[in-house]
């Protein structure tokens, strides 16, 4: 092995060379961490030779391989997820469906119902049918997503599906279908605000 006057420098450039597959900032961080370790160890144990310090740190190739294995798990599951694997190039586990999909379905189901409402006498009411399908699909996608905790899912379904449906059914039972246009529109907008707010909250608190 080639040795020069500065073994620390040789060691760090070996780490740098072996970890060339790392993104530049990761590589620099790794080299800086190791350089700091060497400096601190030398200050704390002045009697230890530099060769011993470097031997304890280990083979640059092993360190580089570990660093490469840790890359790509940077957005791994959080504390409640499965333990992050550090196998090399392990794919990041993600939900099959983008988190925006259930939220949009839940939010848009109500405006969809309102816009395509053919009135209570229509034989086929696309607004009601598709709005209902949107709601059910959105709720199922929300519940099966990996982006939220069980509590968030329950709250989400409660506020975007159960509460609106209960509200409209109650209104219909009390007043019948002959509600006046303005109060009906206002209550729909209120419920829409509730659903939108809940969807925004879910979007903000989702897990990567």
């Amino acid at each position: 092995m080639k040795t020069t006057a500065d073994p620390v420098r040789d060691y760090l450039s070996a780490v740098e060379r072996e970890s060339s597959a790392l993104p530049a900032d990761r590589r620099q961080e790794l080299v800086a961490d190791l350089a700091e370790h060497i400096e601190v160890t030398r200050a704390e144990r002045p009697d230890t030779t530099i060769a011993e310090v470097l031997a304890e740190l280990g083979d640059p190739r092993t360190i580089a391989a570990t660093a490469l294995a840790e890359t790509g798990t940077g957005t791994g599951p959080g504390p409640t997820g499965t333990p992050t694997r550090s196998d090399a190039h392990a794919p990041v586990r993600r939900g099959k469906v983008h988190p925006l999909v259930p939220l949009l379905m839940l939010t848009l189901s109500l405006p969809f119902t309102m816009v395509f409402d053919m009135g209570p006498d229509a034989a086929f009411n696309p607004g009601t049918v598709f709005g209902f399908l949107f709601r059910v699909t959105g709720a199922v996608l929300l519940c099966t997503s990996v982006h939220w905790t069980a509590v968030q899912k329950t709250t989400g379904v409660l506020l975007t599906v159960i509460v609106p449906i209960t509200f409209f059914v109650t209104i219909n039972l009390i007043t019948g279908h002959a509600t006046e246009e303005i109060p009906a529109l206002l209550s729909s907008l209120g419920i829409l605000a509730l659903i939108t707010g809940t969807a925004l909250w879910l979007w903000r608190t989702r897990r990567a």
């Binding site: 780490v15 990761r26 961080e29 790794l30 961490d33 190791l34 700091e36 370790h37 400096e39 601190v40 160890t41 030398r42 200050a43 704390e44 304890e56 740190l57 280990g58 083979d59 640059p60 092993t62 360190i63 391989a65 570990t66 660093a67 294995a69 840790e70 798990t73 940077g74 957005t75 791994g76 959080g78 504390p79 409640t80 333990p83 992050t84 550090s86």
Partner: protein, 126 residues
């Protein structure tokens, strides 16, 4: 990676270490922030978790990227400033979760290893 000196025994230990090392590192920060060399000494003193020191830094780097730990520089009376690692709220949550599941895990493995086999042959004891 080093087929020459990795016996099956060493592989078993390495596999186990890989799974628990990050939680042991988090546990070391439970009561107070620690700097890198300090963490490595503690791991080394434990025996079973001692590992090639340099490989802990990529782990610490990931814990920082995953927002499980934060780092701050602190001056030292001797030598250069140290980078101290401290638990974040999510780091503490991850540690609590591990602390919760570990006893069950440990007991299950112990049970597998110590339960006598159900079909002992009398002649085996000779």
């Amino acid at each position: 990676m080093e087929p020459g000196d990795s016996t099956k025994q060493a592989r078993a230990a390495a596999q186990l270490r890989k799974g628990v090392l990050e939680y042991c590192v988090l546990a070391l920060m439970r009561d107070r922030p620690r700097y890198g060399v300090e963490l490595l000494h503690a791991l080394e003193d434990s025996g079973a978790l001692a590992t090639s020191q340099g490989t802990v830094y990529p782990l610490l780097s990931r814990l920082r990227r995953d927002d499980l730990v934060t780092t701050t520089w602190q001056e030292s009376a001797s030598g250069p400033p140290r980078r101290y690692y401290a638990l974040t709220d999510s780091g503490r949550a991850a540690l609590d979760e591990f602390t919760r599941v570990w006893p069950g895990f440990r007991n299950a493995v112990d049970a597998f290893l110590t339960t006598p086999h159900p079909h002992p042959h009398p002649g085996d004891r000779a």
